[in-house]
Symmetry: C2
Amino acid sequence: MFTDKLIEKINEKRSPVVVGLDPRLQLIPHMVKEKYFKKHGKNFKAAGEAILEFNKTIIDNVYDIAAAVKPQIAFYEQYGIEGLDSYIKTCRYASEKGLLVIGDVKRGDIGSTSKAYSNAHIGKTELEGELLEAFPADAVTINPYFGDDCTKEFVTDVQEYKKGIFMLVKTSNPGSSQLQDLISEGKKIYEIVAQMVNNWSRKNTGKYGYSSIGAVVGATYPEELKTLRKLMPSSYFLVPGYGAQGGTAEDVVCSFNDDGLGAVVNSSRGILYAYRNKEKGTEAEYGKVARQETIKMRDAINKALEENGKKYW
Amino acid sequence: MFTDKLIEKINEKRSPVVVGLDPRLQLIPHMVKEKYFKKHGKNFKAAGEAILEFNKTIIDNVYDIAAAVKPQIAFYEQYGIEGLDSYIKTCRYASEKGLLVIGDVKRGDIGSTSKAYSNAHIGKTELEGELLEAFPADAVTINPYFGDDCTKEFVTDVQEYKKGIFMLVKTSNPGSSQLQDLISEGKKIYEIVAQMVNNWSRKNTGKYGYSSIGAVVGATYPEELKTLRKLMPSSYFLVPGYGAQGGTAEDVVCSFNDDGLGAVVNSSRGILYAYRNKEKGTEAEYGKVARQETIKMRDAINKALEENGKKYW
């Protein structure tokens, strides 16, 4: 199952780091983009191909030091069909390089429609008796607003296809408090969502005691991370917001259990576009600089884990 | 702006009906599918083309009696790139036929990522100084879980490109009560979301007094519709759940204001697949049967509106 594989990748690479693949064309090196603009003109085809080349270079530089990649589908969707083609090829390339792929799709809808989203991203689509894959990912992020009757559709495919889901619990943005921190019967909304996740998680654990039904909890809310860690002991956490959004290694320590497991930490901008700080390297060295930043992040988290008695290896 | 155009379509066609284009390949007439399976084999290309032909026939039969269509993107996404290509072509065909297009995408994410989704679906994507369109729609549905800092990204494009958004407030599924009906400080969560919508709406009204920042409220919850109508007087409601999900003309009356405006009502399965009831017509007559069902729905809603003193024309 997904989380068993994830833990094995973390152990093999000595790294709970997830590299977020959020292609922002305006931040991609000119030398990468210009080639495709010359070839195709200023269009989505050029954008898709430039993004794919950029992602492949990043993947080539981090595949041995990151457990997974997390392509954020919104950044591909904005380049239309060609952008999504680039998303698919990025996922496949990362898989070939031994990385797990967490599709950050944040989908969710009412029951039968959630099933269609699940088919699209972690399950398969039935076509006259044959089962076909639409978008490849080992796990996806999903939205809790609809309730358990919709989550169920994804859970069915988690079990059937050995995939994973991460439910949004507490998101990393400043405005997340507006709805997620409201209090109902003495509990915050994100705590109630955490209980919903835990109800699914505790019944679906793998050989390391963790479930493939996980939670998204922002690194930017360390106090909430502590509370949520206790409420969902068997859920794996996907922790975004490290680096560019302000989360530090100390902040994310509380998303791990005492066994040193239980969380993967994502950084996107802080790794991908580090080359734009000229002190770190030249434009042509963007892959190397991304590798340096990933190592720095991995080492900082591992050190913080060790100092807090949460060493896994 | 979007809602002005929507009201003019409703008035022109004497119909607040939205036809939901939710292609379920297993329910599409064999005569439509077989042609493409023979041509391309059992693959997504065949699926995409069959769906497009089916949708075009539906559109040809309802364009003069419906205000808008609402393609549910999940049902296209499950057929991969080819499915999404069919989504785009469906949207364009519907526009050409004078229908407004509400992309039922239910997207949402943290700030900068919401901007990418907004670029993708109602705004434009900047590409080296040029602005390009990824997916065409006049309005989209969005998810409220992240908070206003994310909604803001969509609102910016609503204003810039004269588009619309419908925020999920109370969804039509049985499990929607689990999170949406929780009570915080004496108010239900969906009421708090309604206040968020209203805060955006009341500042952004058009010439008929309605805003292009609307709300999704399920026809399956008529009591909640009444409450929500009062909380969001200037928001247009998109009301799904009519027909196959159980909502009736009497149920949806309370989603309209006394001026007979303020809501559009969606039916998908009840229209598209009505032909499968052999008493209604043959397989070859699926377009004609869809038209009959749309007329029946339009007339039932108009009659209920008239009986409740909410006649618009």
